[in-house]
Amino acid sequence: MSSSAVAVNYPGEHSGLTNAKLGIWLFLASEVMLFATLFTSYLVIRLGSSSWPRGWEVLNVPLGTINTFVLITSSVTIILAYAKCMARDKAGFKTYMALTLALAFVFLGIKSVEWGTKFRAHHFPSTNIFFGVYFVLTGLHALHVIGGIILNSVLLFMADKHWDDPLFAGRVEAAGLYWHFVDIVWIFLLPALYLL
């Protein structure tokens, strides 16, 4: 193995982190700032509005709650995929990663049903400020889910070829960290939009 490969693959002597892990945490920090900006905007708009609908009056709380269960379950399946990867159980890894992907598609399916219902009722981002905030926040979150689906799919299909690559487990861990972040964002979106 070349010295450059060693530098990429193994933890630095001072930080104790691989490049992949440090990189994904830096990326997640930037993502935190992105969503924090949107949440701040939401709060300022809400505090400044003379009236604001209760989320459950205009949104489908049961579907939002089911989506929360789906996303939390997918967080567990991806960490089980990582555990199987560390245990060198390729079949187990592929099973749990495929489950994670299936749950991600279920989440997007439920979300598309919600959006479709809103569009049929002529509720668009331009309808009012509430729906503007709702579509922007859930839309950006859905884009992150799609990004996670792409990332996890690549890892699933790379597993056969790159299973013995020392970098592979680090990639799975980074994908898992990203997926948990997507879960955390939804954990805040549910009460902020649907319930409060």
Binding site: E13, A36, I72, R88, I184, F188, P191, L195
Partner: protein, 133 residues
């Protein structure tokens, strides 16, 4: 060579990961989600409902970050990175919300000026072209 480095140089060796704590956290997250939904149905004051709802969400997010993202037992550099991020997020929230609260009673409605459509200018009568000699 540090212990972490030595371990990482044999990444292909199987390592057992105890998944039982993840299952406990999973159960806790499901219970807290039910609690979040139930809280919204109580007829409390809006601010109390918002506070409790967001407090439960914060506990849930902390569980995910601590156990699923392995922040428990993570390297100091990650704590430093997230601490810096938290400071910026706090500033980001504090300034506009404080300003919004301070100007609550003095806020002026945003004037939206919509220009009325001007009537179209009457079409000029077509000039007769001079007859060519």
């Amino acid at each position: 060579m540090t212990t972490a480095t030595a371990q990482a140089r044999s990444p292909i060796a199987p390592q057992h990961v105890d998944v039982k704590p993840y299952m406990y956290v999973f159960a806790g997250l499901l219970c807290l989600t039910v609690a979040t939904v139930l809280v919204s149905y109580f007829d409390w004051s809006p601010w109390l409902t918002i506070f409790i709802g967001l407090a439960i969400a914060t506990v849930k997010a902390s569980l995910v970050a601590t156990f699923f993202m392995h922040l428990k037992g993570e390297r100091v550099i990650i704590y430093g990175l997230l601490g810096l991020c938290a400071v910026f997020v706090a500033v980001l929230f504090a300034i506009p919300i404080t300003d919004s609260q301070a100007n609550m009673g003095r806020r002026q409605p945003i004037a939206v000026v919509v220009e009325e459509a001007k009537p179209a200018a009457p079409a000029l009568p077509a000039k007769a072209l001079p007859a060519t000699p």
